[in-house]
Symmetry: D2
Subunit: 148 residues, 4 copies
């Protein structure tokens, strides 16, 4: 399943992210997906901050998380992320969160490029579109992978 | 659209919930949905804490949020919530978040009853099932409402 | 002790604010102090948002919290706040957090007025200084109060 | 100044930790101090989780932060931490947060060992006291260090 993800980042569950059930609170996962997204975009020239410096923000349109197994304080997690489905001003990220090689959550988010001041939709810069498309095709499964 | 929601609660966007885009961070919405869920369940005998006292937790299986318009510091929001689709150990909440009568976000979450100690799925107590079903039918649209 | 506090606001401990010790996480208290501060300033013409609209931000210089008793999910809290010690661009807030009339925490924060764009210290507007001084003297203990 | 700190950890400011002033929210610093504290204790046999497994929690009694310069999204921070002043059930941590070698904040927290179930004060285990004292003396400045 995770063969399609070429990018991943690691993090540890912070104590401040746990709740009274003794597990990570479900809202913390959105922060972790964002951490992965930011690091993913950092591979692109300028990164997320570079976008912001050019007056472009990526705003979140939709977020979806499926919680498959609880994670606990100090657990080491791997967040895999993949950008794709770049259309017009919009793009989508898919994620899998793993612990010890086992998926504990997955999800996706959709985003739009907006003007940093007005927060209104703006055309995605051609260079970003190209970069995301390149990253997308790079992480697309080869026929060998999809056979496995 | 919101005719189906009989329950609602109000809150204000906290400064700590904003981010560097000058709007509420998208993860804060999950906290707000939870606030609404907790207050919704508080109408049921014992409420959420009552469930916890009986050794039952409601764990989150899935969360979905659609962000339709940014909200800002100090905005007054109304969170409408409705519980339904109670099956076995599982149940679902639907939400709409409004500002000045206009929807700014909507979403849904699914949950399962779990044993508070083991966090393993447990049968939903009959009384809770009944209460949620009653609340569900109570908030179902009448033909008069659906005509409006 | 709380005779000196004329302003107070109420809130409930959110589930998202708890941690794996089963109590509210210690960082959540800073959010609550901020909620009280914002509502305190809302009594002043324009409030905190009014300050921001004029290009002035209140930045936090120091924060101190003393945790006296743990608070739990769904606990109803009263946060008492008082502004004082207005000097130049700086001012200080003192707080007590109570549950059922018993103090569970206290603390203080110091702040400076800064230019909203540069975040550099800026002179506190005369009207704000006056308002804060007035609020300060209004909440100062009378001899009768201090005798009790 | 930082010669006394032998322990440090690194982190990046997350976007979710920023606020509408465009800087990291002041409550996020408490999370960062906790991250440093947890990693500091991880050097001790069993670490923080080991303490929890033995039914001991470290609860926070007091927290103090001095904010010296704003930090922004994606800033790389070094959090230096030192444990000391171990008395009875209590101990204290001191911290400095740096960016590019310059201090941007400092602070301290005090803690007590409590029984994990009752959250009541409990005697600090001798082995922990010894370990903390050892870590403390190890991080004390030698005459050579204090001369630099």
């Amino acid at each position: 399943v995770t063969a399609h993800f070429q990018f991943s980042t690691e993090l540890k569950v912070r104590f401040s992210e746990t709740d009274a059930q003794g597990v990570a609170h479900h809202a913390a996962y959105l922060d972790w997906l964002e951490v992965a997204r930011v690091e993913y975009l950092a591979r692109i020239e300028g990164g997320y901050q570079g976008l912001r410096d050019k007056g472009i923000e990526a705003t979140t349109l939709e977020a979806h998380v499926r919680y498959r197994a609880p994670v606990r304080f100090d657990d080491s997690l791997v967040v895999r992320a993949r950008c794709g489905d770049v259309r017009g001003a919009r793009f989508r990220f898919d994620y899998v969160i793993e612990r010890n090689g086992e998926p504990v959550a997955d999800g996706w988010t959709t985003h739009a490029c907006v003007d940093a001041r007005t927060l209104r939709p703006t055309r995605m810069p051609a260079w970003l579109k190209q970069e995301l498309a390149r990253a997308d095709s790079a992480s697309a499964p080869s026929s060998a992978e999809s056979a496995s």
